[in-house]
Structures are given as C-alpha cells and as structure tokens.
C-alpha cells in the first residue's frame, strides 16, 4: 500500500486529480506523521483539524462531481504562521500578535486556494521572522528532524521541519536574509527565494520591505516549480510586484544542463567554511558537470559593499517597523530579538538612503562582471557545520553567542540585497549526520534556470528522498 504522506507534492496532486487517492486520505496520512513526529519537533503553532477535514471532504465532492480541478486540488498544506488568512489566527511567531486575526487573505494563499490547495495550520517560525536558527521563546523552539538538539534553520523553521518529516507536502516560507534557504538546508529539503518582486507580498507580515520575499519549501525542485508557478506573478494589491509573464517552470525541468556555466564562489562564501561542507558542495558540482554543466571557480566583486549596505537596509527597516512595540512592549520580545532590533534605531537615515540608492548600481556592476562568465553562482547554503540550538541561544548563552548565530546566514544574506533568485538543495550530510545544502543563485527572474539545475541534480542523487530519524518507529 502506498504511503500517501511519502508522495511528493506533484504526486499527491496527481493522485487526487486522477482519483488514485482522496483528499481526505492525504490529510489523514499527513496527520498520522504529524502526530508521530511533531511532539518532538514542535513545528506547528496551531492547526485546525475540523476545518481541514471539511475542506478535504469538499475537495473530494468536487472530484466526484467532475468539477474543474486546479493544479493542487485537494492537497492539504500548512504555512509559516505569518500569512494572513481572513478569520484565522496569525501569530507571526510572536506574543505581541498572539491573538491577531487578520481581516484579509494574503495573495499567495489566495492563489493556492484558487489552485485547489487547502490549509490545515500555521507553522512555527522565528518571532517576527527574525532569526536564522528556529529559536522561539513564546511557542517553544522548533527542532531539527535529523537530530533534535540542532537548529532546524530559520526563520521558516516549521516549514522546513514539517516538509522534512513528511507531514506537509510543501509550505510557504519567507526569505529576508535566508529564511527559506536556511531551513531548507538544515532540514534536507528544497527551498527557493525568488527574485525580489517576483511574488506578491500582499498579506505577508513585513520585516524588511526591500528584502522580503515569499517562496516555497518542498521535497523536490519539481514541487518548488509547481508551487512557485502558482503563486508568482503581478498582483495589483502589491504594486511592487513585477509585471512580467510567469514562465512554465515545470516545462523547464528537462534534465539537460549542457552548456550551463556554474561558478563556485570563492570570494566571501568560503571564508571560514568547514571542510566537509565545502567537499559536499564540490561533489555536487561534479554531479552537475555530469549533466553537461561547465563548472569553474569564480571570484565575486563588491561583496564588502553588499554586506555593508544590505545589513543597513535590513536592520533599519526592521527597527522602524518594530519601534512602537519596542517602546511600549519591550518585555514581550525575546532577548535576542529586541537585542537585534535595537541597533537599527541608531543608524543614520543618510546611511540607509545611501544603501538603498546604491542597490541598483551595485546590482548592475555585479551582474555585468559575474554573469558574463557564469550562469549560476554556487556556494554552500550554510558555510559551517550545523550548530546546535544551545550554541546559538543568545537569550541564555554567553557573550559572543551572537557571532555563531549570525554566521548561520552569512551565505544567504547577500542575495537579498542583490535581489537575485537563489535555491537551496540537499547535497549531503555532515559528520554529525545533519544535512548540507548547496545554494545556487542566478540572474534576476531566472528561477527556471535554478529549478532546472536543481531538478537535474535530484535526478542523479537521492539526498532529497532520505527520511529523517524522527520518523523512525
């Protein structure tokens, strides 16, 4: 008998459409894994089992009635608990928004609904999407499905953990400095941060409006292509979203990488990297070369500028959003969060404007030099071996814990300032048994190229199919 929870998103959707499985059966299979794994993982903040069951029955009735079916008809999903759904809770992982019930629905959620997907719950996340580790003082830390003492990555911690533990076919995450790619890497799943402006942010909790991105985490590149194709595209409710056609991402998955130039980034991205992580990335590039990719090493320009300017933009925008609550409810933030928000209040507006106004010129200069030589930039997603929750716990750790904490997102942050799309795919395990991720980045709006490379890699490897120990009997 097929384990329905083990299906990929694409397989699950096809099973419902063809009548091979019911939506209710998918939901029950996921729920069984959730009941088994989640007490250890703490990947959810809330779930609505009665609502999910009703939605599944309605989806099955539509199949029986031969109604038109969307691409994701009847597939039960849960998302990072920062996507507004009218009339449902949305805690943003915070105490401050514990009782917040939005009146509107995020465009990404609406598009998933229109494609037939249902929502069964809200997933654990860093408080206000503000840490790369998965710590959460208010709802409890989320744990890594491969070893509970380690970070699951953040801020979309529950998204990564629930997809890895096979109780969620895919999940929306958000990425302001790596928050999709980091949990994807740490949990051994696939996650893509689209080009800035590719996906509407309407109804998604803001953190840094210049750097925020909406995107999927799933078990395969194909699943990410399917989900991204549903949510991408211009949205009048988000005037910053790009008015460009959305390619057929799934059609780009041919397995053929002949002539695609991939450069392993030597500058910055390998500084202080752990040898097992570098070795896994290099081996992944050899696999891609086997598919016809032309692999080289590349030095990247302007990384000092990207780091300095990007840090200012993120910090200032986040601090501005939270200033009122910092003034009125400082005790309702975790120590590490109020600690991170505070310095942003001291940065002069002139630094902020300088950083923003340089963003276009920096991108142009970077793209001109880099993409003349390569199509894709490769690096480890996290350059060190995965740290434990204890090693990165600023709230309870000794002075200096911040350094280890910030190092987690060192390789992902640059692409948020540059606005480039980037994907993380599992490419091995470190000596502690924790997943390692390979990050690929591309020109603006070249998500199809990223997904094609990731899919080609997954045709030749099985890292993405392995089951974490948390599912062991």
């Amino acid at each position: 008998m097929t384990d329905l929870a083990a299906l990929s998103l694409a397989e699950a959707a096809a099973a419902v459409r063809t009548g091979a499985a019911t939506a209710l059966a998918l939901l029950e299979a996921c729920r069984a894994n959730r009941d088994r794994a989640n007490p250890k993982l703490n990947a959810t903040i809330w779930h609505d089992d009665a609502g999910a069951e009703a939605a599944a029955r309605a989806a099955d009735a539509a199949v029986a009635a031969k109604a038109p079916l969307g691409k994701l008809h009847g597939v039960p999903l849960a998302h990072k608990d920062m996507y507004y759904q009218a009339g449902r809770p949305c805690t943003c992982g915070s105490l401050i928004r514990k009782d917040f019930v939005p009146a509107v629905t995020a465009t990404a959620i609406e598009r998933l609904h229109a494609a037939g997907a249902t929502v069964w719950g809200g997933l654990n996340m860093a408080e206000f999407a503000q840490n790369p580790t998965g710590h959460n003082r208010h709802y409890g830390d989320c744990h890594n499905p491969w070893s509970l003492a380690y970070i699951p990555g953040g801020s979309s911690s529950g998204s990564g953990a629930s997809v890895a533990a096979r109780f969620n076919y895919a999940a929306l995450g958000s990425d302001t400095g790596g928050s999709i790619r980091l949990p994807a890497s740490a949990c051994g799943v696939t996650g893509i941060k689209p080009t800035q402006t590719r996906v509407s942010r309407y109804g998604a909790m803001p953190l840094s409006f210049s750097h925020d991105n909406v995107g999927p985490l799933a078990r395969t590149a194909r699943d990410c292509a399917l989900l991204l194709g549903v949510i991408a595209g211009h949205d009048p409710k988000d005037p910053t979203s790009a008015d460009l056609p959305v390619p057929d991402y799934e059609a780009a998955l041919t397995g053929d990488l002949r002539g695609v130039r991939i450069g392993l980034a030597e500058t910055y991205f390998l500084d202080g990297a752990d040898p097992p992580v570098v070795a896994a990335a290099e081996q992944a590039l050899r696999v891609l070369a086997g598919r016809g990719a032309i692999v080289s090493r590349i030095r990247l320009p302007l990384m000092d500028a990207v780091a300095a300017y990007g840090g200012v933009v993120s910090r200032v925008e986040a601090s501005a959003i939270h200033a009122q609550w910092l003034r009125e409810r400082p005790g309702d933030y975790a120590t590490h969060l109020s600690g991170r928000l505070y310095p942003g209040l001291a940065i002069p507006a002139t630094y902020y404007i300088e950083s923003l106004s340089r963003r276009g010129p920096v991108l142009r200069a970077f793209a001109r030099e880099v993409f003349a030589n390569v199509d894709l930039i490769a690096s480890p997603t996290i350059r060190t071996m995965l740290p434990s929750l204890a090693e990165t716990d600023i709230d309870h750790g000794p002075p200096g814990t911040e350094t280890r904490f910030m190092a987690v997102s060192a390789n992902t942050r640059p692409f948020n300032y540059l606005g480039l799309p980037a994907i993380s795919i599992p490419c091995g395990f470190d000596p502690d048994g924790l997943p390692i991720g390979l990050q690929l980045a591309a020109r603006p709006f070249a998500e199809a190229r990223l997904l094609a490379a990731a899919d080609a890699y997954q045709r030749d490897t099985d890292w993405h199919t392995r089951l974490p120990p948390v599912l062991a009997p």
């Binding site: 500028a305 340089r358 276009g360 793209a367 190229r449």
Partner: protein, 82 residues
C-alpha cells in the same frame, strides 16, 4: 580625562565604551527607547564596525550610473533572451 597609556586594546575598549554611551543616548533621545538588554548593547557597540565598513567603501566605489531605481536594474540585468 582617562589616561589611556600605551595599551592599544585598552584604548579601543574605552573608545567603544564612549561610542556605546553616545549611541544609547542618541537612541533614547530620538526614539525614547532604552537598551533592552546586554545583547542589545553588545550589538549596538558593533555598529562601530559598520562605520568602518562605510568609511572603507567611500571613494572605493565608482559607478557609471549613480543612484537609480533598483527595480529597473533587476529588469536590465535579466538574461538577454528574455
């Protein structure tokens, strides 16, 4: 006046102390927010490194196109065939 003596690290420490005190005073005056905890103070003290990073960039970056729209840059740097 504090006698710094010949010890550079001590001199740095005092300078950072001054910087932190000035930063805390500025945030309190402009925003009415005191430093919430020790990590906040440590991370605020690290802004000194940000100032140094900006100093290092000044004059080092020369762009043909000066301040301009980022969204336009995203479109201009897409793959040529698109």
């Amino acid at each position: 006046m504090v006698d710094l003596g010949p010890d550079a690290s001590r001199r740095d420490a005092v300078r950072k102390g001054d910087f932190l005190a000035a930063t805390e005073a500025a945030v309190a005056r402009w925003h009415g927010i005191p430093a919430p905890n020790a990590p906040a103070r440590r991370m605020a003290a690290e802004l000194a490194a940000l100032i140094e990073a900006f100093d290092a960039l000044r004059g080092a970056l020369v762009f043909e196109d000066e301040p301009s729209c980022f969204e336009a840059a995203l479109r201009e740097t897409m793959e040529p065939s698109r």
